[in-house]
Subunit: 159 residues, 2 copies
Amino acid sequence: MKLTSKGRYAVTAMLDVALHQNVGPVCLADISERQRISLSYLEQLFSKLRKAKLVNSVRGPGGGYRLAIAAVDISIGAVIIAVNDSVIATQCKGEKPCTPSGRCLTHSLWNDFSKKMQDFLDSVSLGELMANSEVIAISKKQNMVQGLQNDILHTNQLG
Amino acid sequence: MKLTSKGRYAVTAMLDVALHQNVGPVCLADISERQRISLSYLEQLFSKLRKAKLVNSVRGPGGGYRLAIAAVDISIGAVIIAVNDSVIATQCKGEKPCTPSGRCLTHSLWNDFSKKMQDFLDSVSLGELMANSEVIAISKKQNMVQGLQNDILHTNQLG
DNA sequence: TATATACTTGACTAATTTACTCGGGTTTGA
DNA sequence: TCAAACCCGAGTAAATTAGTCAAGTATATA
Ligand code: FES
Ligand code: FES
C-alpha cells in the first residue's frame, strides 16, 4: 500500500477546511500557512479532491474551498483514494497475477490486509476527527499562531 | 507505511522455507527458482532475516536456511519489520513532531492506523499461512513445475 | 586435500516513485 | 482595472526501492 506524505497532506488539508469553513470558503494560501504545506502542492491536491467531488471551489477574491458534503460523510479513505488512486497492497493490484503460473503464495494475505486497511480508513470521518480533543487543541494553537503572524505582518505594513 | 515488494518477497520466501524445510535446509537457489525472486536479492533479504534471528543458516554443500523458531511463532509483522525496519505510518516516525509548533493535526490518526496495521500483521503467523488451502494448492503446483524443470535439466545433462 | 556448493558482505547502480516547482492561464469581487 | 484566488500541465529534483556485482568464507564430500 502507499500511505505517503501526499495522502497525509490531503487529509490534513481537508481537516483544515472542515475546521475553518464556517466563516466562508477557505483559501489555499491560509491552509499553506497553517499546515506548512507548499501552496503549489496544495493546488495539485485540491485539483484531485475537487474532481472526486469532495470539495467545491469558489473562484475570485474571497474565494477558496468548501467541503462538498458534510464532514461526517467524508471518510479518510475517500480522501486518500482521491489523491492516491488506490490503497491496494497486493503486487498484482487486481490485474494479472504476478507469476506466470498464477497467483503467488501470498496474494490472499495481501488482499485481506488491504481490506482491513481500507475498512479502517473508511471508518474514520473528517467529522469525527474534528471532534477529537487533541485535534481541537492543536487547531486552536494554530489559529493563535496565525493570528499573531497576521498582527506582525499588519504592523510591519503600517510601519 | 511502507509495504513494498521487499516485504512481500520476504514473506513469500519465508513461507517457502517453512513449506520445504522438512526435507532439510532450504537453499536460496531453490527459493529463487520457485518464487521467481532474484538470487542476489534473496541474499540481501536473508541477511536481515538471519540478523533478526528468524532463520538459521547452514553453510556448505547441502546447506541453506531453516526457520529459527516454529512457524506458528513467526508473525508476518516480524518478517516485514526485519527487512523494512518499521511499519509506522506517521510522518514524524516517533521522532520530533513534524511541525515546529508541535504535533500535526493528524498525528494521532496515523498513529492509530499504524497500530491497527501492526496488529493485523502480528496476528497472522507463517504457520497459519501454511495451513491455508489456497497456499497449499499453489505450493503443490510450484513443486510440480519445479520437478518438471529438474527432469528436463537432468535429461539434457544426460543427453 | 581439492572442489563445488552455498552462505556472507558491502558497495554500487538502475529504476521507480514521490514530492515539489514553475509558468502560464481563467474567473470574479471590489 | 486590479488583485485575489482558483486552474492546469509540464517539468524537475529528491528520495526510495529494487536489484546487481564482486570478492569473499565455511564446509560436505569425493
Ligand atoms: S499479489 Fe496477486 S498474484 Fe501475487
Ligand atoms: S505525524 Fe507526528 S507530528 Fe506530524
